[in-house]
């Protein structure tokens, strides 16, 4: 069976056009994009690992190395088994810091452009033989089917097609945050096609050769030497070495890294891939032995590397042959496309941009996009040149193993990144140079020339390019690499930046931003970045970073702006590489390192880091974190508002109680100055922070809808260093309900007093009424005309007396409605006098003797009516206690900044056993109906409200009597 070259070419082009359509449709259609985000698509896209080496070369490899062919997949399974400890940390690192390649990771970790450049060069050099392998496989498979002698035009045509595809669908976005959904779907489709093609060929081959899968075992029993040859390599030296090579290649190959980490849309996908990807490879490799043995049985007269095509041709079905051919095209094109995308990104970040800075006058994104496109074309062209230059006597697998060997040179570096914070830049470069040199001398150069450098010095260790050779090279090169890496790292020191990056890579970073950002708004960020990226890109990048952080253009909080700066650095890192991004940010978004920032200002940042790392804490660290959470929860769940304020008046904690009290949530408030809070909160807290007193009781706060009463308390948190100003903690207690209850209580007590006064009032009013009645009777009887004015005056006097009584009562009764009254200077003597007038309305009180010895100018800050209430209650108690002939003495002096008022009576006194109880509500010694038990508690609360004290004592030197001592802060008149 033979195909025309043009037919094969047409089918290959048609197939690649289908890929175009799939990628294009996915990019354009929302439903297709959702489908592309499915973990199954991600798993299949990782199938890019299976190239023409797996598709064609694996059969040839199994022919030469038996079951050892499976190591190339088993090593991957071993790497995927380590997903939580190896791949997830790498994924976290790449996602958080937006690192697009292994070279980015090394440049970031070692804070070195040199490390990035070296990694890129090794990666590029190591990948070119693999690209050449794909071109060769396509060319040779076309030769097999067409019988044409020269594969050159086919190879060129194929290279052009995949270049166009990669340029169109792989370089659409310049930042890793935007995934190439179309590309991923197309690659997943390719993986599916090559798997189906291989399995179909295997089924057909087995039926042709053995009549079914049951026949394989029968054939092997008849040919036991085949089974023995199949298992023999397991016991050879190469087995372990190949497993190790595949283990490293599973995630270090540029295409694997790109699909696994850079194009990963969701971390969940990687967890699914940890078992799904090995399952895919198991299915691929399961088809290989049957095809090999079917080839032995059918003897198609072709080398085992192309038994897949040969079996299809033997079947006599042109359709199957074409499916098998397109499976190979799938494998090759997917590998070339993804590898060149990954390499182009690396080359752009580490080889091009450090030399050619983008022109700020041009569109940055377009410039980067075009640079990547040109690099893609250049890399594929270089792969073609390698295809022309490489020795073609070796099997397909040899070229692949050369690439795999290059990639495992990064294993020590990756271990250093993930585990060893002591590793240094110099150590990494020295190790990689050592391993790279051994690889170049013993693997790459012998493939490029028939005379290796080692042969020249008389030792032909590169005699053959077999599996044993590559396994040995893997061991020695990686061992030397690791040894030099470790030794040089131990002999050299890290820079501060390197140490910080090392901690960040392990996600144990404790570094907090040092210094203060010079810029004060996102608009200033744009101004500064414009000179580097151009105005449009600067604005777009700041807008993106603001959106990432959930901030807006009005943001001025220093810690948020610091976060914005870090986000911009990460975003730029995704586009230009970590080193250039860091340089731009350091140069343009400057930090004043001399300005110290308080630890508390970074509390949120530290807490976010701890939250991210929570699942990884073990042992004591986990317990400490639990303790931290417990303490934080105490603050969060407190029914009091908690506000922590730094020495420069920035808010660093704002608990939920404070949120519900103010209606301002923590995200909006934390980081702002206290004075920036909306009124009346800003004024209230600012005034209290500036006040001398650490406590303020029952401050009235006028809110738009109501008045609330708050008690405020302030505490100082010690500074980190001696003499350093610490933060301040404010506790805000909402006592509005308590205030309302007290007001109701006061009013009730007042009404009760009025009830008790009622009889006295009636009597008081009765006398003038009697007088007026008598005068009226005399007027009716007739009086002299000249006496009329005198009568009228007497009536008016008596009426005035009634009016005074009524006004006093009304005034007292209405005094309870004093909501919103602020304390004002009150003359104590006036309050005592007013209270006496009220009490004197009672008949029994009129029989009491009241004396005052109040110094002049005793002023306190209080509400007049409430203070009157205090004395009314005390006098009423004294009247009730003393009975007829009782005596009340009120003294007042000013002492040590306080006004001390003593209300003394000569009653029986308060028994010692109940003295502590009389201040409790509803406790009374009076007869039922005579007292509510609320008088003294109310007095106590009012006095406490004005920062005063109230004490009860026996009268000094007397057998009877009570002294009520009231002390209130004195003020000047």
């Amino acid at each position: 069976m033979r195909f025309e070259l043009g037919t094969l070419f047409a089918f290959a082009i048609a197939y690649l056009l289908v890929l175009f359509l799939i990628a294009y449709g996915t990019e354009r259609n929302a439903r297709a994009r959702r489908l592309a985000a499915h973990p199954a698509v991600y798993v299949l896209s990782l199938g890019v690992y299976a190239t023409t080496w797996s598709y064609y070369g694996a059969v040839g490899f199994a022919d030469r190395q038996g079951l050892a062919f499976v190591t190339i997949y088993l090593g991957v399974a071993m790497a995927m088994a380590l997903t939580p400890v190896l791949l997830m940390p790498l994924l976290r690192l790449t996602r958080h810091w937006q690192l697009t390649s292994l070279a980015d990771i090394f440049a970031f970790r070692f804070n070195s452009q040199g490390a990035g450049v070296l990694a890129t060069v090794v990666m590029l050099t190591g990948s070119l033989p693999y690209l050449a392998l794909q071109i060769r496989a396509v060319a040779e498979s076309t030769q097999v089917l067409s019988g044409e002698a020269s594969p050159g035009p086919i190879a060129v045509g194929f290279c052009v097609m995949v270049s166009v595809f990669a340029i169109i669908f792989g370089a659409r976005h310049v930042t890793p945050r935007e995934k190439h959904a179309g590309l991923v779907t197309a690659i997943a489709f390719e993986s599916l096609i090559k798997l189906i093609a291989l399995l179909v060929v295997a089924v057909v081959a087995v039926h042709l050769a053995f009549g079914g899968f049951g026949g394989i075992q029968d054939w092997l029993e008849r040919n036991p030497e085949r089974l023995a040859a199949f298992y023999a390599p397991v016991r050879e030296q190469a087995w372990g070495g190949l497993l190790f090579i595949a283990f490293g290649a599973a995630f270090l190959l540029p295409r694997q890294f790109h699909m696994m980490f850079t194009e990963n849309a969701r971390p969940q996908g990687l967890i699914t891939a940890s078992w799904g990807f090995p399952l895919y490879l198991l299915a691929m490799s399961f088809a290989v032995p049957p095809i090999l043995w079917a080839g032995y049985a059918l003897a198609p007269g072709i080398i085992p590397d192309y038994y897949v095509l040969a079996m299809a041709m033997v079947s006599g079905s042109p359709t199957l042959a074409m499916v098998a051919y397109l499976g190979g095209i799938s494998a090759a094109s997917a590998m070339i496309i993804v590898t060149t995308l990954a390499l182009s990104s690396m080359c752009l970040n580490h080889l091009v941009l450090p030399v050619f800075r983008p022109d700020p006058q041009r569109n940055l994104y377009e410039a980067l996009r075009w640079a990547r496109r040109m690099l893609i074309a250049a890399i594929i062209a270089a792969g073609y040149l390698f295809f022309l230059a490489l020795e073609r006597t070796e099997g397909l697998v040899s070229w692949g193993l050369i690439s795999f060997l290059a990639m495992v040179q990064f294993v020590p570096g990756v271990v250093g990144v993930l585990v060893w914070t002591r590793a240094t830049r110099v150590g990494f470069i020295a190790g990689l140079l050592t391993g790279g040199a051994i690889w170049g001398g013993t693997a790459l150069l012998p493939a490029l020339t028939t005379v290796s450098p080692v042969t020249i010095v008389g030792l032909d260790i590169a005699r053959t390019q077999g599996a044993d050779h590559f396994a040995a090279v893997a061991f020695w090169s990686v061992a030397a690499n690791a040894l030099v890496f470790a030794a040089v790292s131990l002999l050299t020191r890290q820079s501060d930046r390197e140490s910080e990056a090392a901690a960040a890579c392990r996600d144990v970073s404790t570094a907090i931003p040092r210094g203060a950002l010079v810029l004060e708004s996102p608009a200033q960020f744009v101004e500064q970045l414009t000179s580097v990226t151009g105005a449009a890109a600067a604005r777009a990048e700041v807008a993106k970073a603001l959106a990432d952080q959930g901030l807006d253009w009005s943001e001025t909080r220093p810690d948020r702006l610091q976060q914005l700066r870090e986000q911009i650095e990460r975003n730029l890192s995704g586009m230009m590489g970590p080193i250039l991004a860091r340089m731009i940010v350091d140069e343009r978004l400057r930090v004043d390192a001399d300005t110290r920032t308080a630890l508390a200002q970074n509390v949120r940042l530290i807490e976010e880091r701890l939250e991210r790392s929570r699942n990884r804490f073990r042992g004591l660290a986990a317990e400490l974190d639990e303790l931290r959470r417990y303490h934080r929860q105490i603050l969060e769940d407190l029914p009091l508002g908690v506000v922590a304020v730094t020495p420069n008046d920035r808010i660093v904690r704002w608990n939920p109680a404070m949120q519900s009290l103010t209606g301002m949530n923590a995200a909006r408030v934390v980081g702002r100055r206290v004075s920036e809070l909306t009124e009346p909160w800003g004024g209230l807290l600012t005034d209290f922070l500036a006040a001398d007193e650490n406590h303020a009781h029952k401050r009235a706060l006028q809110l738009p809808a109501e008045t609330r009463w708050l008690s405020l308390h302030r505490a100082f948190i010690g500074g980190a260093r001696r003499g350093e100003p610490g933060d301040r903690l404010l506790l805000v207690e909402d006592v509005t309900e308590l205030q309302r209850l007290e007001e109701e209580l006061t009013h009730s007590e007042r009404l009760a007093s009025i009830g008790r006064l009622a009889a006295g009032v009636a009597h008081e009013i009765g006398n003038p009424v009697t007088g007026i009645t008598c005068l009226a009777q005399e007027l009716r009887a007739g009086v002299e005309a000249d006496e009329l004015p005198e009568y009228a005056q007497d009536i008016l006097t008596q009426a005035q007396r009634i009016n005074t009584i009524v006004q006093t009562l009304v005034s007292y009764a209405h005094a309870g409605h004093n909501e919103g009254h602020q304390p004002v200077p009150v003359d104590v003597a006036a309050a005592v006098g007013e209270a006496e007038r009220v009490v004197r309305l009672s008949k029994r009180a009129r029989l009491m003797t009241m004396r005052y010895r109040l110094d002049e100018g005793l002023w306190v800050r209080a509400d007049m009516q409430r203070l009157v209430q205090v004395f009314v209650n005390l006098f009423n108690n004294a009247v009730d206690a003393c009975g007829e002939g009782g005596e009340i003495l009120v003294t007042g002096v000013r002492r040590h900044g306080r006004v001390e008022i003593r209300v003394m009576d000569n009653g029986p006194g308060i028994p010692a056993n109940i003295r502590d109880k009389v201040l409790e509500p509803f406790f009374t010694t009076k007869q039922p109906g005579r007292g509510t038990g609320l008088g003294l508690p109310l007095v106590y609360n009012i006095i406490r409200e004005y920062d005063g004290e109230l004490r009860l004592r026996e009268r000094w030197g007397r057998r009877h009597g009570t002294v009520v001592l009231i002390a209130l802060p004195a003020i000047e008149e």
Binding site: L74, W239, S274, R618
Partner: protein
Amino acid sequence: MATHIDYGPHAPSLITFAFTLLAFASPASDWWSALAPPWYAPFALWALVIVAIRLGARRTARHEV
């Protein structure tokens, strides 16, 4: 009362890796290959490894994602 011991999210992963090493990269692989089992036996062993990874992946998902 039974005490729940949390071995962390990495334990299944490390155990699976150790099992894979034992099965495929130790003298145990010399032993089973010398027995010349049916040709699909290594693939069955490999499938067992995948099942173990799948079981561990649930735990990983709970902790990591």
